[in-house]
Symmetry: C2
Subunit: 339 residues, 2 copies
Amino acid sequence: MPGLIQHVERYRPIHDLLAGELEAVREIFRRQLASDLPAVNDLCRHVARYQGKMLRPTLTLLCGLASRPEDSRLPARLGESHRVLAAVAEIIHMATLVHDDVLDESDLRRNAATVNRLRGNETAVLLGDYLISNAFHLCSSLGRPDVSRRIGATTNELCAGELLQVHHRDDWSIDEPTYFAIIERKTASLISLCCRLGAEESGATPEVCDALASYGRLLGVAFQIQDDLLDLVGEEGVVGKSLGRDLEKGKLTLPMIHFFGRADAAARSEMLDHLSGSRLHGRPLRVESLLLAGGAVHSARETAATLVEQARRELSRIPDSAAHLLLDDLARAVITRAF
Amino acid sequence: MPGLIQHVERYRPIHDLLAGELEAVREIFRRQLASDLPAVNDLCRHVARYQGKMLRPTLTLLCGLASRPEDSRLPARLGESHRVLAAVAEIIHMATLVHDDVLDESDLRRNAATVNRLRGNETAVLLGDYLISNAFHLCSSLGRPDVSRRIGATTNELCAGELLQVHHRDDWSIDEPTYFAIIERKTASLISLCCRLGAEESGATPEVCDALASYGRLLGVAFQIQDDLLDLVGEEGVVGKSLGRDLEKGKLTLPMIHFFGRADAAARSEMLDHLSGSRLHGRPLRVESLLLAGGAVHSARETAATLVEQARRELSRIPDSAAHLLLDDLARAVITRAF
């Protein structure tokens, strides 16, 4: 069972169903990216290895399953459109990973070399473009322009969020609202749309769609905070990708914002020396200990935990089902994960 | 009158019509890219400056006008879908320019600084993504999934062509079929689709649609050969962008392929010394004179001219009209242009 959800024996039927559906999503992903050019296929095979948690497809499918349970223990049926939308979201996500690795000059992703490391930045930029294009091509196969339009609007948001982040590079006075504006756009918008579309494709009521979209948004923000925490205090071998890149790239994330909000003059000044001096390499131990000692890591974790609790409360607005329980598990796993 | 078409007094009505339609396309372009984030708007305003020849919008509109002439001198009416498709094609093209400038490390575009030069590679990569996303978002506003699907298929081709090109970097034995496979995908596919969609939106017969699609493909290949010639032997101040980048980036284009196909052992060896030695900077005069003396530039020009003649012959399959005459002018201008 891939992903973040722990296997619990009494949920076996829905676990097995989800595993089968995710395999079908992977097959759509593979088929969509296949080219008559061997050079392109080699690259796509490499990218397929980055599929890890499959968070976005899992949410699309689970929200579909949770939206119209005919029986609280038996899952609703999923349609091909759920799988296609799940694959579209995963391809978009892969495109952002490939381009993020170029921006961050990362060498490692899912414990494998990044495309930019293996084949250079040019190939990585173009491969990301190929993925984005294929995501829209696949999406349009649904014959649902309204869905294509909303996915396009969301990827616009996603890119604008990334642009806003780069715009604030080396801005050591960035505030919480700006940080949240960035991560809501770059991460939470697509995750929220996955939840909403999964529900809509199952014919869910507007209230259920709204509840799941809101669940996705809150969970998405918490997910990004956890990602940012792992970049600062995670273990590279466990996380499986290059860490410390946010500091190297001058990206201030929540723990650092919390640090600056509560540090005394001496600690602030010491941290700024670390950040503003010559380019950082890796994560200086002293930066980590300043963040831990000042309680900044702890308070960022608390913020993420509060968001997860809010996300879980949104689930009270959807019917009981096995999928509902898995969505609840998933929300909790987002911030307990070490990878 | 922007673009490649010379103003001829007796075509004034269609020139004026086209100029007005192109202004409407620019307005759709601006409106689509507008964001609530000032940082994003600044970038999009800069990109709008790259709009030069507007080749793809011009072809979309002219093929629309040429497809259903109610009178041979009066143009057919264009619909909003023509303008939207023209804007979609231009946004896609802008995205490829922004990313190409990153790949080619170019500093100059339309006599202005490139985005990568002004704001760095990260911003340029993300801005290109924002443009691609917006192109699909705009396209889906037509409510025509079949059109979105074909545009997606074409941008898949375009990206695959670019990937194939990078795959053959520093490959001094690349042959003509591979060169043509690359440029048909990366350049001619979108230009051909612009022509076909312009015609289809005017309700053209399948024969007219096929003729114009074929015209666009041939013209697109000739256009790229001319671009590649200008990179080798054009004048930077006239072309308005960084030149010599193909050699610096190890991209073999038609003149060089022709050179290697006909050079004697000494000339081959001298050229290879230039190409394979330490990284080239700019365009060594000796490379230019080897290409000119060996007749390689001349023969590449002849290939482009032959393609243009073939493109013009396709026009014999469409009805007479003023737009028809402009399409004929445009085909000739593609290879006589110095910019």
